[in-house]
Amino acid sequence: MQAREILGFCDVHGLALGSHEGFRVGSPDVEVTGILVTWLPCRAAIAAAAAAGCNLLIARDQFNFPPDYSGALIDHHLSDRVTLPRLRAILAANITVFRGHSSLDPLLHAALAAKLELPAPQIAPGGDPMRPLYPIEPVPVLSLAQRAWERLDRGAMRVCGDMTRRVRRVGLLHGNLACAHNPDGLLPLLERGADVILAGELDEYPMRGATDLGIPVIELGHAASLAPGLRHLADLLRSLFPGLCVEYFEPVRPWQAV
C-alpha cells in the first residue's frame, strides 16, 4: 500500500479534507510499512513511530511550532529549536506525515462524548453539529469531574466555578476549541444554555468569561480529550487496512503540578 492510499479512508468515511490537512512532510508515494496515529508529531511520537517501524504518521496537529493558526509560517522557523529537530527526526526516519484535523472533528467529538458516557446530543435546528448540548440527569459538577477523571487519563484537571452546583445541560468541546483563539468555540454553547462546560483545553479569558456567566468549567486536557477519538481512528484504520501494522501513540499530559 502506498501512503496516498490513506485517502481511501477519507472516501470511505466521507471526509472532505481542508486546506490545512493532507500530506505535510515526506512522499505520498512511499510504500507503507506501518501507521502510527497520534495527536501531535512531537519528538517522542516521531521516535515511537520509528521504533515501531511505522513510516506513515497520522497526526491531528502540526509538527511545526508556532502553529499556523497563530499566523506563523513554517519557512520562518526552520532554524529554530522546535520545528527543525522535529523535521530532522521525521526525515531521518523516512517518515511521511499526514495531518487529519477538522475533518476528524465529528469522530473525535463523538468518541469523547461516548467515553464520558454522555447521552444522545441535542443539536439546535440549523445549529452546528459540533456544538450540541447533552441533557443529563441533574448532578453536581464535582461528580461530572470525578467521572471525567475516571474515564480519561486520571491526571490532575483544572476546574473553575461552583463545583457543588447541579447541572443538566453539558456543553462539550474537544482539543483546544474552547481556547480564546477560537472565537466561535465556547460562546455559542454559553449562549445556547449550557450550564456546564467540559473542554479539552482553555485559557484564562474563556475561564473568566464562563465564570462571569456563572457557568462552571472542567478542563479535561488537550491531549486527554483527543485520545478516545484518535484511538478509535487507529481501530478504523486497522479495519480498513487489515494486515497493516497500525499503532497508536498515547501522548502524555506534558505538565505536572509542582
Binding site: 501531535l40 522546535v82 490532575a156 476546574v159 483563539h181 465564570t211 503540578a257 509542582v258
Partner: protein, 270 residues
C-alpha cells in the same frame, strides 16, 4: 481630576497609546471619584470598584470575550453572552473603563514580574522583552517551588524534568506564551534559556519547550501581570495626588481537581 485627564499619565511618561488602549466603555467626561486598577474587568472587579466608590476602572485586559487577539469582534458580541453582560454591568454601575495594555507592559509589567520572582539584572538581547536572567544553578523542581513561594501561589503546572539544572531563565509573561502568539517563545529560545517562567500557556507550547530541551513553569496570566498593575496603581496615585486609587487583585480562576492528590478540589489560587 477629570476622567479625561487619565491620558496625562501616559503623556508624562512618554508612553504612546496603542489602538488596543484608552477608553473602552463608559463616559469620558465627568469627575473621577476614585480609581480602581485591576488586571481584567470581570464582574468581581467591576463590583469591587463600585463597592469602593470608584467610577474609573483602569484595566490591563479586554472587556470583551472572545478577545480581539483571538479574532473576536465586538460587533458580533452585543446580542448576548459575556461581552454584553459586562457592558451592561459597567453602565449600570456608572463606571468608565480605560485600558492600558502594551504601554504598561513596557513601563512596568514585565519588570515587576521579574522583581516579584526575585530576578534582577537581565541581559537584554533586543527589544525590551527579549531578555534572559542568569541565576545560580538550581533544579527545575526547586525553581518551581521558589516561584510558588515568591508569588504566594499554590501548585503550578510544570513541564520538563524536575531534576534538570537551570542557570538561565526567560520570562514570556502574561499571554505571551500561548500558542496564538506567533513568535515570542521562539524568539526567546534563541537566547538559550534553560527554563521559561511563563504567564499562562497551553499544552502545545509546553510540548515545544520539551522538544527544545527547555523546562517550563507556568504562573498564570493574571498572576504574572498583577504585580505590575499593583505598581502602576502606586505610580498613578503618585501622579494624581488627592485622587483615591485602589487595586483589585483578580484571583486565579481555576483550581485543581484530583481525587488522588489530597483534597478533591484544592484551591490553587492566590
Amino acid at each position: 481630576m477629570k476622567i479625561r485627564d487619565t491620558a496625562r499619565f501616559w503623556e508624562a511618561h512618554g508612553l504612546r497609546l496603542g489602538s488596543d488602549e484608552g477608553f473602552r466603555c463608559g463616559p469620558a467626561d465627568g469627575k473621577v471619584r476614585g480609581v480602581m486598577v485591576c488586571w481584567k474587568p470581570t464582574f468581581d472587579a467591576l463590583d469591587a470598584a463600585a463597592a469602593a466608590g470608584c467610577n474609573l476602572v483602569i484595566t490591563h485586559e479586554e472587556l470583551n470575550f472572545p478577545p480581539v487577539y483571538g479574532g473576536g469582534q465586538m460587533e458580533r458580541q452585543l446580542t448576548g453572552g459575556v461581552t454584553l453582560a459586562r457592558i451592561r454591568r459597567v453602565l449600570d454601575l456608572g463606571l468608565t473603563i480605560w485600558r492600558g495594555h502594551s504601554s504598561l507592559d513596557r513601563l512596568c509589567i514585565l519588570d515587576d514580574f521579574a522583581s516579584a520572582l526575585g530576578l534582577a539584572n537581565p541581559t537584554i538581547h533586543g527589544d525590551y522583552w527579549e531578555r534572559t536572567y542568569d541565576i545560580l544553578p538550581v533544579t527545575l523542581g526547586e525553581l518551581a517551588r521558589r516561584v510558588c513561594e515568591r508569588l504566594g501561589m499554590g501548585p503550578l503546572r510544570v513541564a520538563g524534568d524536575l531534576a534538570m539544572s537551570v542557570r538561565r531563565v526567560a520570562l514570556p509573561w502574561g499571554g505571551v506564551a500561548i500558542s496564538a502568539n506567533p513568535h515570542a517563545i521562539q524568539d526567546l529560545l534563541r537566547y538559550e534559556p534553560d527554563a521559561l517562567i511563563t504567564g499562562e500557556t497551553e499544552e502545545i507550547p509546553m510540548l515545544a519547550a520539551l522538544d527544545a530541551g527547555v523546562g517550563l513553569i507556568e504562573t498564570g496570566h493574571s498572576e504574572s501581570e498583577s504585580p505590575g498593575m499593583r505598581r502602576f496603581a502606586a505610580l498613578f496615585a503618585e501622579f494624581f495626588p488627592g485622587v483615591r486609587v485602589e487595586f483589585y487583585l483578580n484571583p486565579r480562576p481555576w483550581s485543581y481537581f484530583s481525587p488522588i492528590a489530597g483534597a478533591e478540589v484544592g484551591d490553587a489560587g492566590a
